[in-house]
């Protein structure tokens, strides 16, 4: 381990090649495709965590489309940045992002949740290329991320570690064990991204177990804390740039708290009564897809 060890930041490599608005358009387009992939997977399956995937699509697009260093043809490339999906049930969104990134073929997405598929309902490292951990038992991801950050730093790697977790996982004590551990060990190569969709299995987060004030909690644990609109690609890019700018082998870990909307991009689902496991009728999928396209094209031409 060396304090001066230079960490990788992907966006710097791209900055010279495109303007800010080109960058915004590129990542927004990736988010749009991720949403379409998720809807298509949901339609084949007939149900699923489509609402979460739509809500988190901008976060996933920002990471996979702009921040993460990886080689699509070599998911185990040693120098890659690690993206850990702690929320295993968000796999539908993650598979969409992996397809967008070229790690999983787009054609394979239709096997989501089918017998013998590499894309099970809950994400597992043992099934899917590019899936670093087996999430799903919530509150695990950040503890594993701490070990990866320690291990990569010890081995002199310039890779960074991103752990995706949900606000529901803030209920788990292990998340806070890891938050303390990351700060104690000064894991400046670690970034946590929290999807705050304010929804858990049994209902709204503030009725299940109040997690607020979330920002103050992370700050008090010693993390470099930012809170942004997690469905605003521009705000996400700025926050990830800030995190990258202060990332270091030895330094403060960074958390980006992302307020998102379940079903984002599809008004039919945005307005529907929120449910952890969203039921979508057979005839509604076409409407969802059309609304998504109309919204994206409307914004793009505005």
């Amino acid at each position: 381990m060396t304090a001066t060890q230079e960490l990788h930041t992907a966006h710097k490599e791209r900055m010279s090649q495109e303007t800010a608005s080109e960058r915004l358009c590129r990542v927004s387009a990736a988010a749009y495709r991720i949403r379409h992939h998720a809807l298509n997977m949901g339609e084949v399956q007939g149900q699923g965590y489509v609402g979460q995937a739509l809500g988190a699509a901008d976060m996933l697009a920002t990471v996979y489309g702009d921040q993460l260093r990886f080689r699509a043809e070599d998911p185990h490339w040693e120098a890659r940045d690690r993206f850990l999906l702690s929320t295993g049930h968000y796999a539908i969104g993650h598979y969409a992002a992996l397809a967008e990134a070229g790690i999983v073929p787009v054609e394979e997405l239709e096997t989501y949740g089918s017998d013998d598929s590499r894309l099970p309902m809950s994400g597992m490292s043992t099934y899917t290329p590019g899936m670093e951990i087996s999430g799903g038992s919530l509150g695990h991801g950040l503890t594993i991320a701490v070990g990866m950050a320690l291990g990569l730093r010890y081995q002199g790697s310039s890779a960074r570690i991103y752990n995706f977790l949900s606000d529901g996982e803030l209920d788990e004590g292990s998340t806070w064990e890891a938050a303390m551990g990351a700060h104690h060990h000064q894991l400046g190569n670690l970034t946590a991204m929290v999807d705050i969709n304010a929804l858990q299995a049994d209902g709204k987060t503030d009725t299940v177990l109040r997690t607020e004030p979330v920002t103050e909690k992370w700050e008090s644990f010693g993390w470099y804390t930012q809170r942004v609109d997690g469905n605003d690609v521009g705000a996400l890019l700025a926050a990830f740039d800030n995190a990258a700018a202060q990332a270091a082998a030895v330094g403060r870990p960074s958390v980006i708290l992302c307020d998102t909307k379940v079903g984002r991009g599809v008004p039919l689902l945005e307005e529907r009564e929120k449910a952890h496991f969203m039921r979508i009728e057979e005839h509604e999928w076409q409407t969802c897809s059309e609304q998504l396209t109309a919204g994206y094209e409307g914004k793009a031409s505005a």
Partner: protein, 332 residues
């Protein structure tokens, strides 16, 4: 009753880690810590972690030798084992120590899903296995093997002495998947050096032959089994001792060959009668279709008392004297 009889003073619960070495017995200091240092000198991927119990699990020896390769995780066992899995994901070989109760009871989910499901080389080092402290159920891991045996991919090792531990550590590091070592720490008896024995992961070893009784034992109960075998010789009972330090995967072949005789078969373990060595042997016997009775020497299916370790070992039948009495009663 005589009025001059003197009441013996009651024994007192000793420090957390009570020694189970007999007075004057040959011992080795911190065999795990020294073995880990030695293994780490040869394998630069070995790292150590603990959850605020470095000094109590002999991990402090490693921490002192390799401060850059040691990670203190604080009193946070879920983090300890999640992070150990993360370290293993990066290609390192972590040994993570805490007490067995905390590893098995508190952190099971993390070990199961983060280390065992991806079959990572995470080595769990659990102090105070079975009845090796008088602190009561909070610290007595009487059911740790019962908890862990159901975890796929996990190798479970219950060493007898310093020889077992010294030889097991490099083999655990070399084994691909996750392992659980029932740690004996501090001044650990040295017993098996007298039996031309070597530890081989996954193998049971016949330490001595005998015509009347066969003991199948693991952990510190192999030491007691050997002592009981000597004591039973004075009663003209000839006892064989088979040591099975690897509980999972279990060397059924060696054990069944020894059990499938006319001798009285006895299992001896420092663990609950539920889910440990006895049931491992019993299931192997039934699966093989042997109509053979097996007598367990094991802890009862109870929360055990607090107290002095010698008192408790006597109360729950783990002493040489109690073993001898049980065998003689069986042979009557």
């Amino acid at each position: 009753m005589s009025t001059t009889a003197v009441t013996k003073p009651k024994l007192k619960t000793s420090a957390m880690i009570a020694s189970f070495a007999d007075p004057g017995q040959k011992t080795a200091p911190a065999p795990f810590g020294h073995a880990l240092v030695k293994a780490a000198q040869e394998n630069d991927r070995i790292v150590g972690l603990t959850a605020d119990l470095g000094k109590y699990t002999d991990m402090h020896i490693f921490a002192k030798a390799f401060p850059e390769r040691f990670f203190q995780m604080g009193m946070a066992e879920q983090l300890l084992f999640g992070a150990a899995a993360g370290l293993a994901e990066t290609g390192l070989v972590p040994f993570a120590s805490t007490y067995s109760v905390f590893a098995a009871r508190r952190a099971y989910d993390f070990l199961c899903l983060d280390a065992a499901e991806p079959n990572l080389n995470v080595n769990i080092v659990g102090g105070l296995p079975g009845l090796t402290t008088g602190y009561g159920p909070s610290h007595q891991a009487t059911e740790d093997m019962a908890i862990f045996r159901g975890m796929p991919n996990l190798t479970i090792v219950d060493p007898c002495d310093s020889v077992d531990i010294e030889q097991a550590v490099p083999q655990l590091a070399a084994a691909d998947g996750p392992t659980y070592l029932r740690l004996l720490r501090g001044n650990v008896p040295t017993v098996l050096d007298e039996y031309g024995y070597t530890f081989e992961l996954g193998k049971a070893k016949v330490l001595r032959g005998g015509n009347d009784v066969v003991f199948i034992s693991s952990g510190l109960m192999t030491m007691r089994a050997l002592q009981a075998a000597k004591a039973l010789a004075a009663h003209n009972v000839d006892v064989a001792v088979v040591h099975t330090p690897t509980i999972k995967p279990f060397d059924a072949e060696t054990v069944l060959a020894e059990i499938n005789t006319d001798r009285l078969a006895v299992t001896l373990e420092n663990h609950s009668v539920i889910g440990g060595l006895f049931e491992t042997v019993a299931s192997a016997v039934v699966t093989a279709g042997l109509g053979k009775r097996v007598v367990p020497v094991a802890l009862p299916d109870e929360f055990l008392d607090a107290g002095a370790l010698p008192t408790l070992h006597d109360r729950y039948g783990l002493t040489v004297q109690k073993i001898v009495a049980k065998v003689l009663a069986e042979l009557e």
